[in-house]
Symmetry: C2
């Protein structure tokens, strides 16, 4: 399996996804046939990663109309699945705009076409992110003879329709023949780092898995040249919500002069959101911390995201280039 696999595909009048709750130990596909299938897949994280959540929601609207649901019901149900990743709301708003203009008889076909466009654009955008991120890694590799990148969570092809966001420059670096090694944080509580390790293993990219706790020591020891993470929502001022634990890595990166990049398509920027303080942080079930914790019968807090202030971010890599986090406004016309 190469890293060019698509995570979501059409199959007749259904949509097929990879069940990411069973990866990397089992490769299982799930067929989405209607609205509730799509909403469930997002809610329980069979699909995850902001761009893929957006594409799945778009297809969810198409599936909903196909089974006779109203547009409002579809948008409301899908919009309530997860609160933080803005690509979900971006995709639903885009579906609403085009469908409200569409003649009733053409709506179903329009919905399929628009979902297909959203998915296709994500694939292209992420390939561009890879190309814009590549020179950042190449510069380090040239200077040091190789480059050690740290990432967090999974922002690879599994988190997108294809190509990945944070991992796109890493795949591009491999294709360009750079000597690259990736530090992969396990990313508690859901261990999405295992997905990243699996992705990189499939691609033959050298990598080392670590406990999230090890990030500070490795930076102190000079073993990290650069951090690249994905994003679930970027506020207009550049503050970035991403998987819980990202912020701690950003603080350590600043402390040790390690460049810290966020890689995301423009669909992840929420221009209506003035700052990180306005981003809702999803609180998920404590059971995600595992069976041993459940047996402890103890209170658990499980926020799924944190916010990295713009001041800690060296650059935001989008499909249009590398931007200072404070100058994202120039991208509004692209959104």
């Amino acid at each position: 399996m190469s890293h060019t696999l698509r995570t979501i595909q059409e199959d007749g009048d259904a949509v097929v996804i990879l069940d990411q709750t069973r990866l990397p130990h089992e490769t299982a596909f799930v067929i989405l046939r209607g609205l509730e299938d799509a909403a469930h897949a997002i809610r329980v994280m069979q699909v995850r990663g902001a761009p893929l959540i957006g594409a799945t929601a778009a297809y969810g609207v198409a599936l909903a109309l196909q089974e006779g649901c109203g547009l409002d019901e579809a948008l409301t149900t899908l919009g309530a699945t997860r609160p933080t990743a803005v690509n979900l709301h971006w995709a639903l708003a885009r579906m609403r705009r085009i469908l409200e203009k569409s003649a009733p008889a053409a709506r179903r076909e329009t919905a399929w076409n628009e979902a297909r466009a959203i998915a296709g654009e994500d694939e292209v955008a992420n390939a561009a992110i890879g190309q814009y991120g590549l020179p950042l890694l190449a510069e380090i590799a040239t200077r040091k003879g190789g480059v050690n990148v740290m990432t967090h969570c999974n922002a690879g092809w599994l988190a997108t329709v294809a190509n990945g966001t944070a991992l796109a420059p890493i795949y591009a670096a491999q294709a360009a023949g750079l000597d690259i090694h990736v530090w992969v944080s396990e990313t508690r509580p859901r261990n999405q780092g295992h997905l990243t390790a699996w992705e990189l293993g499939q691609a033959g990219i050298p990598h080392t898995l670590i406990a999230d706790n090890a990030a500070g020591l490795l930076m102190m020891q000079g073993k990290v040249d650069c951090v690249i993470v994905g994003a679930d929502r970027i506020a207009a001022n550049g503050d970035t919500a991403n998987k819980i634990g990202t912020y701690l890595k950003a603080l350590a990166a600043r402390e040790h002069g390690v460049p810290f990049y966020v890689a995301a398509p423009v669909s992840t920027i929420d221009f209506a959101c003035p700052s990180g303080a306005h981003i809702p942080i999803e609180e998920r079930a404590g059971a995600e911390l595992g069976a041993a914790v459940a047996k402890l019968d103890t209170a658990v807090a499980n926020p799924a995201f944190d916010v990295t202030p713009a001041g800690l971010i060296s650059g935001v890599i989008t499909e249009y280039g590398v931007h200072a986090p404070t100058s994202l406004a120039s991208l509004t016309c692209a959104a």
Copy 2:
């Protein structure tokens, strides 16, 4: 079971420990009858926590002499079990000093007496740490109506002979009737946070378990008033090695103006070690990250400790008081 239980006790000519690899889900005791039993218990972390490692090593010397081993063999074997916690070497050096002066016929008894003294002093020292730490918490509780403390790993009575180090002020705060709540990090990869949650649960102290990754968000949200951690080795300049992940919490604490305290007996200060850069960091088996990781067949790095620079530490709480991390030299006479 109250929090006053002792983790290590004599039983005739043997020593009994709680097997901490089976806690908190199972309470099992292990009987140490000789040198290899004691060395094994430290190596595989049946006992853990710097002060308890020191006491176990001291008893290990007594057990070794009792079974006819030479002193040098005992000191070498026990000294090689774990590299970072300095209490191990402190206890062994103390045993060597007194035993080298002891008449051969009295050596066995001297060894038992000295091990007993080391264990007893740890219990008393930690109770004093609790009393010196209490006013720090009381001041916050008075000002805010309650106090939210974050800790890392387990530095409770399980990590010591009794009373705990980082948790000692928390137990003292409960006894003083303060309104206290503790944020408990799970502490990957070995989840010693489960031990802390269990300890606090036994004592009836309100607490909430979190993924290590959540620490930064909680501080950003103003939900943490103070951090208290233990230590495995404090260099003469105040740099502090403690469980991996401590450093990330210290960086976040500074960022948000949250006081960050290290609680440890003077036996944890290595006056011969000039700075954190000289502290050996134990690398443990990658298998500690769990069975799911093992199945991934991926490279794993698993450093067990990191170093928090003195500049991030608000104070070091010892059995003699609360000290600026840069003025530990005044304690050399107590060591």
